[in-house]
């Protein structure tokens, strides 16, 4: 079998001399023991299994409601215990600080008064919901579930790329990928003590129920989904099933007397906690977007009265803004008195005139993003853009400098991936999932996304990305 290591950036499995790294040796020799036809037979099995089980996401834009499977690459990504320990500690620290920050900007606004981050930058974000000021959720937890995207640079350092504090998705694929690999390549697990992840739904349930306004009373938990046409519907349904929760859409809920009920065959039934998988803007047409058909009129009032738990709390999105991200190292130091354990990518903020001037003069070497968007929309990849594209983008930027941030292009790490009959290096990232219940916990590993196209940096599922099982090795082993 042919193995082609990455030559440009950091290769997860091979060192600079092209020799397998220690923690990949056993895996590589195991995979070497399979014949090509054996591997291909098993690949067919796993693909069939995804299709039959309907593990799909919906693609927008094409023919309506096209269901696609998220391609799965069976070569697992391995994270040694020591590396993971550092990543985990960094994430716990970061999520703790994020919550202190959100509570602060909706409360006393000390960080703004102390000039740690410009007040205007925070308060002008559309994710900052003025109506939620002075409304502190129980125990100050805003982000019950966070998905933080992490990449590795050419030295192999783990860097935070962004935080998703609203409705991070992908955890269903983490669990399904593990199931799939267990079934299709059981041999791979014989040589590694891989930390288990299958209890995540229970942990998630416990975490969410902590948001219940009347705890101990066997609270009713629902998962609020935009519905079957949403791209992540499989995940909503999967998590509801795995947690034993009820999957609801906005039209299933009704607010009366500032209490939330669902419409059932036996009349109305009280709801205590909503794990909402719809954005703030679509939660409640009375409080946010008036044209929203997905929302539940009166929900925010019920929340204000303390009669319903919402996870994540509305307004939490202010913390994953791309301009706020640039200030995270300072915010961590401000709230926790510690240096950030996980470094992040150097970021220029258009809000600061000096930064903007630098951005304008160096567009050709930068990756520029708009602060409001996510999922790669509204982005400029300077090093790959034409002069014309760059000029057009610069003209856009001048209209609203504070709407933009820029970062140098980070050479993503690469990982052996079975493509075209060989193990070729393809670029990857990592999205760990962090739960904030009684304390902050991190699911070992997370979702490793892989850009299946040669040379590509884009790992998004809608643009030719796939995913891998992610193994965190148990401590004191190997």
């Amino acid at each position: 079998m042919k193995w082609v290591p990455e030559t440009k950036g950091f290769d997860e499995a091979f060192d600079g001399a092209g020799a397998p790294r220690r923690h990949y040796r056993a895996l590589i020799s195991l995979l070497e023991s399979f014949t090509q036809s054996d591997i291909e037979r098993r690949e067919r099995l796993q693909k069939l299994s995804l299709i039959d089980q309907g593990v799909t996401f919906t693609v927008y834009g094409e023919k309506e409601g096209v269901e696609r499977i998220f391609p799965f690459d069976f070569v697992p990504r391995i994270i040694p215990a020591g590396e993971w320990r550092r990543v985990e500690a960094g994430l716990v620290q970061r999520v703790t600080a994020l919550n202190l920050f959100i509570a602060d900007v909706y409360g006393e606004q000390k960080c703004l008064k102390d000039g740690i981050i410009p007040a205007e930058l925070v308060l002008s974000r559309k994710e900052y919901k003025r109506v939620l000021r002075h409304l502190l959720p129980s125990r100050g937890v805003y982000t019950h579930v966070v998905g933080t995207d992490i990449i590795r640079n050419d030295r192999g350092d783990y860097l935070v790329l962004e935080d998703n504090c609203r409705v991070p998705s992908g955890v269903s694929y983490v669990l399904e990928n593990r199931n799939l690999l267990h079934r299709v390549f059981p041999e791979l697990f014989t040589q590694y003590p891989v930390r288990p992840i299958k209890d995540y739904p229970l942990l998630l349930r416990d975490t969410l129920l902590r948001a219940a306004p009347r705890p101990g009373d066997n609270p009713t938990l629902v998962v609020l989904s935009p519905g079957v046409y949403n791209s992540a519907f499989f995940e909503h349904s999967f998590l509801a099933r795995e947690m034993g929760a009820v999957l609801v859409e906005g039209r299933d809920l009704i607010v009366e007397d500032n209490h939330v009920f669902m419409r059932t065959t036996r009349g109305r039934q009280r709801v205590d906690v909503i794990y909402r998988r719809v954005d703030d803007d679509f939660l409640d047409p009375l409080a946010f977007r008036r044209d929203s058909l997905l929302g539940v009129p009166g929900l925010i009032n019920a929340y204000r009265e303390g009669n319903i738990g919402l996870a994540n709390a509305p307004g939490a999105g202010v913390a994953d803004d791309k301009a706020v991200y640039a200030f995270m190292p300072q915010l961590i130091r401000y709230y926790l008195g510690e240096d950030a354990l996980l470094p992040q990518v150097e970021t220029y903020v258009g809000f600061r005139p000096d930064d903007f001037a630098y951005m304008r003069d160096n567009l050709g070497t930068l990756v520029v993003k708009t602060t409001g968007d996510s999922g790669g929309y509204g982005m400029l990849m300077g090093p790959f853009a034409s002069k014309k594209e760059i000029d057009a983008y610069a003209a856009q930027m001048r209209k609203n400098p504070s709407g933009y941030v820029a970062q140098p292009l980070v050479e993503l790490s690469a990982h052996p991936t079975y493509v075209d009959g060989a193990f070729n290096a393809r670029r990857i990232d990592l999205r760990p999932f962090i739960l904030y219940g009684d304390r902050v916990r991190v699911l070992p590993g997370g979702l490793t996304r892989v850009a299946l196209r040669e040379g590509s940096y884009v790992v998004n599922s809608s643009q030719g990305g796939g995913s891998k099982d992610t193994w965190v090795i148990a401590e004191r082993s190997l």
Partner: protein, 316 residues
């Protein structure tokens, strides 16, 4: 349970039952038409045409070559043509859409086997088998797929409210369809045969019984005597044949009683109770005199029961 989920499960039950009914009627009609073709071409054609009365909103949407066998347009339209609202394709697609929307209310086994059956059908939609034998083969394997769905439902679902709504949909659809099948077939069969036309009558009665999946049961009880005085009361009032009207009304009534806990005076429960009582205590000796009136009444009542269910449970 959520009204929306109950609604989806009810329709999933109806659509799975409908897909199975269409599949079975296609296979049975094809057998009869092949047998009758050389003896009485009109009768063979009429058997196919009856499908348009049994599924009144159905459409023959496929173009077929002018000299194609008469079975072909019917087989194509009712099997893998998603544009015909009474095709297997259309019904199974709806069943699967409902299942996907309420996946968390089903088991993995039910969803997987439903999905597999649906994906096989999608392949036939794209490239339908070209001739009768090919279509028959596909239909037979579709029939097995549908039985697997029903089997997975039976073996893995908890007997909770969701299951009751699935059963309710299935029973109601079955009762409704039996009434339509009998309404389409009985008048012709009960007409006194013209001289020299006799040989196909037993085949028609046999086909009717097979079309309602009751031939073997009938034989066990009555032997081979395919006489109208026996077959008609059997299909209307037999307490054990799963597709007799009486059994169907009882099944709907049982589901409703369990869903409402018995003490509910809901309109749907009252309508069903009255219908079940009429069928239970009807005089089996003289059904043919007014059977067409009875069949119309059953079809109307079932439609009313459906409306009452919707108002009581689904739109809340």
């Amino acid at each position: 349970m959520l009204s929306r989920v109950a609604d989806a499960l009810y329709w999933m039950g109806r659509y799975v039952e409908r897909a199975e009914n269409i599949t079975r009627l296609l296979l049975v009609t094809d057998d009869f038409a092949t047998e009758a073709m050389g003896l009485d071409e009109d009768l063979a054609h009429a058997a196919w045409k009856d499908l348009l009365a049994i599924f009144p909103a159905a459409q023959l949407t496929r173009e077929t070559p002018p000299y194609a066998p008469i079975a072909l347009p019917y087989l194509l339209a009712f099997f893998a043509d998603a544009r015909n609202p009474y095709s297997v394709s259309f019904s199974l697609r709806r069943a699967r859409e409902n299942a996907r929307a309420v996946r968390e209310a089903l088991t993995l086994e039910v969803f997987v086997v439903m999905n597999e059956t649906f994906l096989a059908l999608e392949k036939w939609e794209k490239k339908p088998p070209a001739d009768g034998p090919g279509l028959r083969d596909a239909l037979t394997s579709m029939h097995r797929g549908l039985f697997s769905v029903v089997g997975a439902i039976d073996h893995t679902l908890p007997r909770d409210e969701g299951w009751l709504f699935l059963q309710l949909g299935e029973s109601l659809e079955r009762l409704y369809r039996t009434a339509y099948v009998l309404r389409a077939k009985l008048p012709g069969l009960l007409e006194p045969p013209a001289a020299g036309e006799l040989p196909l009558q037993p085949a028609q009665w046999r086909t009717l019984l097979r079309g309602l999946a009751s031939l073997e049961h009938f034989r066990k009880v009555y032997g081979t005597r395919l006489e109208p005085e026996i077959v008609v009361p059997f299909l209307l009032f037999d307490p054990q044949a799963p597709r007799s009207l009486r059994y169907g009304a009882d099944a709907v009534a049982r589901c409703l009683a369990e869903i409402t806990g018995g003490g509910d005076a809901a309109l749907a429960a009252r309508l069903t109770g009255r219908l079940a009582a009429e069928l239970r205590y009807a005089d089996p000796k003289r059904p043919d005199a007014d059977s067409s009136g009875l069949l119309d009444r059953v079809a109307d009542e079932v439609a009313k029961i459906h409306d009452a269910l919707e108002a009581r449970f689904f739109v809340t």
